[in-house]
């Protein structure tokens, strides 16, 4: 029984954390915290960090890190707005946005594998490059674009009403399901874990480490690109200064969800729960009217607590 519980704990951990936060704020009882309207609001607020966390989970499992996702989100939102503004249809704009992210990710992956520079440095460079490029393309202003269905992806009053959540939330859930399946049951997923657990061994076992890594960073970039399209949908303008520091929220979501920065560990569902936990925490603090700094301190504590629990688990093994 105890053995079984220990095995379940890493999976249950993030859920326990989320339950903790929900229970905490329910006990304090700000108005509307448990309302369905608030559930919908929090879900919509989670989409951008959630999408980013999906790709980041792969990167972190492989033992890497991607610091550029916040900037890539901004760049993709600007590109989406520019393409729309140039008179193209919304689908082309979406593809351009996701493609931008994919391209950034590919460059990250190629630089890491071909130049042999650590991911931290390469993606730190990309953080600056993508942000600067976004500002240059946007002429250091927000980019207005004609209205399209991309805006409806993030509305809290979706059509038809039975959707309940914004379409973007469903997209997040669907993509999470697909990527969880890929991680669990495909060769690519297995190789991702193999690279993260022990790169040299993986190489010896015939895993094409270079290819796998490039694919992982490209995937992470594409997720950030999609998040950028959603960010555009939410703001209705392309904003080169948006999502500043979002990469840290995204990494935090993955870590809370059971990802280990040492590589070889991580769960898509956990990351998703981690993203919701952070959203609920921010939302709850807002609803009780706590000053912003309390919220920042709490999120900091939760991140450290999540990792500390993780270490305890390892020590017990």
């Amino acid at each position: 029984m105890k053995e079984r519980l220990r095995k379940l704990l890493p999976i249950l951990g993030p859920f326990l954390g989320l339950a903790f936060v929900l229970a905490l704020f329910t006990a304090i009882g700000p108005e509307g915290f448990l309302s369905s309207y608030n559930f919908r609001t929090v879900a919509t607020q989670t989409v951008i960090v959630g999408l980013g966390a999906l790709g980041m989970t792969y990167v972190i499992i492989s033992g890497g890190i991607d610091l550029s996702v916040g900037s890539v989100i901004a760049l993709a939102s600007v590109i989406t707005a520019l393409v729309l503004d140039a008179g193209h249809d919304a689908l082309t704009a979406c593809v351009a946005g996701v493609g931008t992210g994919l391209a950034c990710g590919l460059v990250n992956g190629l630089l890491i594998t071909q130049l042999g520079i650590v991911p931290f440095i390469v993606t730190l460079g990309m953080l600056g490059i993508a942000r600067g490029l976004a500002k240059y393309l946007a002429d250091e202003q927000k980019v207005d674009a004609p209205t399209s269905w991309i805006t409806d992806l993030m509305t809290k009053a979706p059509e038809p009403a039975w959707l309940f959540f914004a379409p973007g939330v469903w997209l997040l859930f669907a993509l999470a399901a697909v990527l969880a399946l890929v991680l669990r049951s495909t060769v690519f997923g297995t190789h991702t874990f193999a690279v993260g657990s022990n790169e040299a061994t993986a190489e010896l076992c015939g895993v094409r480490v270079t290819r796998v890594k490039v694919a992982i960073y490209a995937l992470c970039g594409a997720c950030a690109g999609l998040a950028g399209v959603m960010q555009f949908g939410r703001l209705t303008v392309g904003d080169p200064t948006t999502a500043m520091g979002k990469e840290l929220d995204i990494i935090a979501a993955v870590v809370i969800g059971g990802g280990s920065l040492a590589g070889g560990e991580g769960r898509i569902l956990g990351s998703l729960v981690g993203a919701f936990l952070m959203s609920y925490l921010a939302n709850g603090c807002n609803l009780i009217g706590a000053p912003t700094f309390i919220q920042e301190i709490l999120i900091g504590c939760i991140i450290i607590a999540a990792v500390a629990l993780d270490r305890l688990r390892h020590a017990a093994r």
Partner: protein, 324 residues
């Protein structure tokens, strides 16, 4: 393990309860006021105005800005969370004239009226727009400069930022009034932008002064542009020579005004903005008609009248109401 969790729970519960705002069980109306940021003096002045109107009218003012300053997404979250809290009304200074529209529309759909202050939103579902008339502000600056130059001379305008609606209105008001009322004054440059930072403004101003060192009059349309120009004038040893009018106060600019390096400052009234924003909302909630556009006034302050009580209050607003 579970004991430790319980302790953590109780600790967090206590901490959060301690910093929780009072609930509106006393039946007072609650009005959320959402600024663009919270650190700048300008927003504190709006807060002070709103707070004092709130006390007079017996409504609770809930003040909350975006987590990160100038972050559209964060401001949207703040609006959304106030919708969830079911406040009676929202007074908002939008960071963006388009990006905030969807969430404001949500608020109105949920039955929460919205008053816009400071910068406008490109949407007419709001109750009222309470702000400075920036065109008039620019026009006042033009008349003052025309008067100082006795109707003749060469004038230079350093603009703020492309696409910034409020400052563009000021520049437009300035230039239109100058050409309409002072035919003898020549505008030698009005196409240079300072950019958003003081550093950028400083550099642009330096370049302008190399080209137009013998200019008679200068106008800058916001605080950072004015300060950048002032620094460049001081560096070039020109401070006090051309007649110089700026927009918005800061401690340094007030010092320069006193030292005669700056001839006049155009000043808005953020305290009135907060005050009138709350009053417009309360009027609307009580079914009284509200003007769609409320002007909060703008004045020109010079060295001679800067110590009079009314001017003093605008240059150095009384924020004591915000102290706990």
């Amino acid at each position: 393990m579970s004991n430790r969790l319980l302790v953590l729970f109780v600790l967090a519960f206590g901490l959060l309860c301690a910093c929780r705002e009072g609930k509106a069980q006393d039946g007072r109306r609650r009005i959320a006021v959402i600024p663009k940021g919270t650190t700048h003096e300008f927003w504190k002045s709006i807060h002070a105005g709103a707070e004092s109107a709130g006390r007079q009218l017996d409504v609770e003012v809930l003040w909350k800005g975006p987590l990160r300053e100038d972050d559209r997404d964060e401001q949207i979250k703040v609006v959304e969370d106030f919708i969830t809290r079911r406040v009676d009304g929202i007074v908002l200074a939008p960071l963006d004239d388009a990006a905030l529209i969807p969430c404001v529309r949500d608020a109105v759909r949920e039955g929460i009226p919205v008053v816009i202050v400071d910068s406008d939103l490109s949407w007419d579902g709001r109750v009222s727009f309470v702000a400075t008339d920036n065109f008039v502000g620019g026009a006042l600056a033009a008349r003052k400069l025309g008067e100082l130059l006795e109707g003749a001379g060469r004038v230079l305008v350093m603009r703020y930022l492309e696409g910034s609606a409020s400052t563009m209105k000021r520049e437009e008001g300035f230039l239109t009034t100058l050409t309409d009322e002072f035919g003898q004054i020549e505008v030698v440059s009005s196409n240079q932008y300072s950019g958003a930072t003081t550093e950028g403004a400083y550099r642009t101003a330096e370049n302008l002064l190399i080209q137009f060192a013998d200019v008679d009059g200068i106008f800058c349309s916001n605080e950072s542009a004015t300060f950048g120009m002032l620094r460049a004038l001081q560096d070039a040893g020109l401070a006090g020579q051309p007649r110089f009018i700026g927009f918005d106060p800061s401690q340094k600019l007030v010092e320069a005004l006193r030292a005669g390096e700056l001839d006049a400052l155009v000043i808005q009234d953020p305290v009135a903005m907060g005050d009138l924003g709350i009053r417009a909302m309360v009027d609307h909630l009580e079914g009284r008609p509200v003007e769609a556009r409320i002007d909060t006034g703008v004045v020109v302050i010079t060295k001679d009248d800067m110590d009079e009580p009314r001017q003093r209050a605008l240059l150095d607003p009384d924020l004591s109401i915000l102290e706990r």
